[in-house]
């Protein structure tokens, strides 16, 4: 009974995912007004040759700031999880 239910859910999800290649065309993006503006004026306003770097660090700098903080938080979390095991070795002069 349980295996049958798992298999049925999987078939429904697979059928839903198969709509993606059926309904989208490849190579014709739908709304590209913002990117046309970036490609036309990006080199002059930011003086960079690489438009992807100009978008990541200049036009959309807040997303990069949030991503750096997420990476920092992940490293803090890993250090926090291994703290109890190193307690006898590193904190004995406290």
């Amino acid at each position: 009974m349980k295996r049958g239910l798992v298999l049925l859910t999987f078939v429904i999800l697979a059928g839903g995912l198969l709509l993606i290649p059926a309904l989208l065309d490849f190579g014709v993006p739908a709304f590209s007004d913002m990117d046309d503006y970036f490609l036309k004026n990006g080199q002059e306003q930011t003086a960079a040759n690489n438009i992807v770097t100009a978008v990541v660090f200049d036009y959309r700098g807040f997303d990069t700031l949030g991503e750096s903080v997420v990476l920092f938080t992940a490293v803090v979390g890993v250090g926090l999880m291994f703290r109890r095991m190193l307690k006898e070795e590193e904190y004995e002069d406290e």
């Binding site: 002059e44 930011t46 040759n49 770097t53 100009a54 200049d58 920092f72 490293v75 095991m85």
Partner: protein, 157 residues
Amino acid sequence: MRMSKLVRTGADLLYPFALIFGLYIILHGHLTPGGGFQGGAVVATGAAIVIVAWAYEDVAGMIRKATMKVQESAGLLLFIGAAALALGLGYAFFYNVLANSGSLFGLPVPFGANTGELNTAGVIPIMNIAVGIEVWGGLTIILLYLLSGLNKKEEGS
């Protein structure tokens, strides 16, 4: 657990090349494909080769945890400082104040296809270097913590 002499010598020979290649990708982020995150990951891979080849007791003396912690925090602080530089000069937050001016990275760029010039693009190379330092420190710290957590024997928790 220590690998054989061949693997250790190969890792010692490969680490400077990975370091130079990663620093090249970080520094030329505004001219060629690449940037801060990609270059930082390449340098961390070079450090990972050295960590895997030597035993953990030898590596803990060569690549210390305290150095990498300071490096990661310094990278994030430099990034926020470069963004707040425009706030101190009277513009909005994250504004590119050094582009197209005469200062540190401020040469203008001719329109269309050209060969690249390193002195351009304002605040963007400073942000690239800051993010590269942060990603290098962060990924190496994760590897060191995972290895040291595995090597510690359990005392009946």
